[in-house]
């Protein structure tokens, strides 16, 4: 339009450019506003309310301000640490297993060694389309003697005392559910990232006579590392929040009410009605989660070459 064609040296044009600029700032804000309202309303404010709540103790329905006493109690609460230990153990075993499993699938899909990779991709991805609670119920039944064909087959083979739901094994059984749910999804994430990699490097390496494993290890995997770390961080966050699977499984075998931190928070709030303490637990858990992702980003993230 005329405004843009005119030289901005003239006063009139300057003013109208300025007006246009202000208008753009206003539009930028208006576009943001709806999201900001729900974000502040249902993300930021709850955090403030929750923190406020955690500073009180309720005695016969009357709230008493106790400063950080609830937090101090959380840090010295053996049940909280037991739960934390469970999810840390879960994370240390399940995440590496799942990530390596997903990486292998992604690389093999990417190399097109296997025919029918489209069908395979679909089948591997399927569990992600299943609601988490359904996955937990489904596997829970597959762990339950009497209804499960797997337990039935094991019994048939003479392993009559084997159980998926015993105290020592149940964490592994929960790991299996989570692995089943998320491996396919993660391998698709890796696969998409691999497909976005520039082909020139691979072509050049092939011409130079590099083998498939060399290409994977020297070129593709290093380029994939940022994606791997993103998946890793989200997995750590998810592990610390473990709730659905153990909650459903606890209806099929007995698990302590503090089995994972989130089960502890839920039971503290809704079985024992101790909202204040549960709020403090939530904050400490969030703190640990942040700490874990921060440490991962700080120390485990692949160092970029500064000159690059």
């Amino acid at each position: 339009m005329d405004v843009l064609k005119a030289r901005p040296t003239s006063q009139v044009a300057k003013r109208s450019l300025h007006r246009m600029n202000v208008k753009r700032h206003v539009y930028a804000f208006v576009f943001l506003l709806p999201f900001l309202i729900v974000f502040v309303g249902f993300y930021v404010i709850p955090i403030i309310i929750g923190f406020h709540l955690a500073l009180f103790v309720s005695v016969f329905g009357v709230n008493h301000f106790v400063w950080f006493q609830n937090f101090v109690n959380v840090f010295t609460d053996p049940n909280f640490y037991r739960g934390l230990l469970t999810v840390l153990l879960f994370a240390v075993i399940q995440i590496p297993f799942m990530v390596i499993f997903a990486l292998i699938i992604a690389f093999v899909l990417n190399s097109r060694i296997v025919k029918g990779s489209k069908l395979f991709r679909f089948l591997v991805f399927l569990p992600y389309a299943v609601p988490g609670v359904v996955s937990a119920l489904l596997w829970g039944y597959l762990y339950t003697p009497g209804i499960s064909p797997i337990v039935g087959a094991l019994r048939h083979m003479g392993l009559s005392s084997f159980t998926f739901l015993g105290p020592g094994v149940v964490l592994m059984s929960i790991m299996n559910i989570v692995t089943w749910e998320w491996t396919g999804y993660n391998s698709i994430v890796f696969n998409s990232s691999l497909q976005a990699q520039p082909v020139e490097l691979e072509e050049a390496a092939t011409i130079e006579g590099a083998s498939w494993s060399q290409i994977v290890l020297r070129i593709k995997f290093p380029l994939l590392l940022p994606t791997v770390f993103l998946v890793l961080i989200f997995s750590v966050v998810g592990s610390l929040q473990l709730f659905n699977e153990p909650f459903i499984i606890s209806s099929m075998t007995s698990l302590p009410y503090y089995y994972t931190p989130n089960m502890y928070i839920y039971n503290e709030a809704f079985s024992f009605g101790n909202l204040n303490y549960a709020a403090a637990l939530s904050f400490v858990l969030a703190l640990f989660t942040f700490l874990a992702s921060f440490l991962l980003m700080r120390y485990a993230l692949p160092r970029r070459n500064n000159n690059a």
Binding site: K23, F31, L32, F120, Y266
Partner: protein
């Protein structure tokens, strides 16, 4: 590009992949097969194959009519929660993501980093505080109590932003402005069309996320008439596990299959949006 691999290792890799595929598919196969069985057959005929007499229809009738159709109601609730949340969340996230990508003023950067950081706030850590908020707003045990918190999708904002960065060329927007379009028209007529793949993806993610959400409705809702299907299945499972009521395995299993179908369908329908076909070339054409 085809990498040369000897036939023998190709065969063994294929064999391993078949095993892996069985691992991922078998539980679902078992679930579907089990929906054809009566309660008695689930225990007497545990082989993972169709029973002698198929009872799928009988199970479905029982599922949808039990307790004057409470499952039907749960399913309708699920559609309401997931649909309303996804529409709202997608709208908000698309507008915000576009704004962050295409206006990119200094004052917006801090806000963006806060939103980005909130992706790493575990959603479950928010559930209890949200419960307290909803209690003070008298929204406990209401539809709004579940929908309102589900409208926030920081990841959706991030996704739209990175997509708009590459997929919506500045030159195209500038051209529309020169033609006299207002900022809103630029967004609605030009940018929003190019953003469609991102929008569809955000819709899919938020729909699936709300459909699958368990912790939030578990905390917010206490009367079963407001339950989504996932929560209803959990209710039946806990009644069933107590063991003194009627056995409900067949209904839980059939209900689980039914609650999964809409998700499977939306994944298949929106498959192509999972991978962004960036329209970065659209300005040169």
């Amino acid at each position: 590009m085809q990498t040369k691999v000897p036939l023998s290792s190709r065969a063994s890799v294929t064999f391993l992949f078949v095993l892996v595929a069985i691992y991922f598919v078998f539980p679902l196969y078992w679930l579907v097969i089990s929906a054809f069985k009566t309660n008695a057959q689930l225990f007497q005929f545990i082989q993972p194959w169709f029973p002698p007499h198929l009872s799928l229809i009988k199970n479905l009738v029982e599922l949808f009519s039990y307790d004057s159709g409470e499952y039907t109601r749960w399913l309708a609730n699920s559609f309401l929660y997931a649909g309303a949340s996804a529409i709202g969340a997608t709208f908000f996230a698309t507008l915000a993501g576009y704004s962050f990508a295409k206006y990119d003023y200094k004052w917006m950067r801090t806000i963006f980093w806060i939103i980005l950081g909130s992706i790493f706030v575990p959603v479950t850590a928010l559930v209890l505080p949200v419960f307290v908020l909803m209690e003070s707003l008298h929204l406990i045990n209401t539809y709004w109590g579940v929908i309102l918190p589900s409208l926030v999708s920081p990841f959706g904002v991030y996704l739209t932003r990175i997509y708009a960065d590459q997929g919506v060329p500045d030159a195209l927007l500038e051209a529309a402005r020169i033609d006299g379009a207002s900022e809103w028209t630029v967004f609605w007529r030009v940018a929003s069309r190019l953003l469609m793949p991102a929008t569809a993806t955000v819709f899919l993610i938020t729909f699936v996320g709300t459909w699958n959400n368990f912790f939030l409705p578990l905390v917010i809702l206490n009367s079963s008439t407001k339950f989504p299907a996932i929560l209803g299945l959990n209710l039946w499972n806990s009644i069933n596990a107590e063991g003194h009521a009627k056995l409900m395995y067949n209904m839980i299993i059939t209900g689980a299959v039914v609650a999964t179908i809409p998700l499977a369908i939306s994944f298949i329908l929106l498959q192509r949006y999972w991978r962004f076909g960036l329209t970065s070339g659209s300005v040169t054409g």
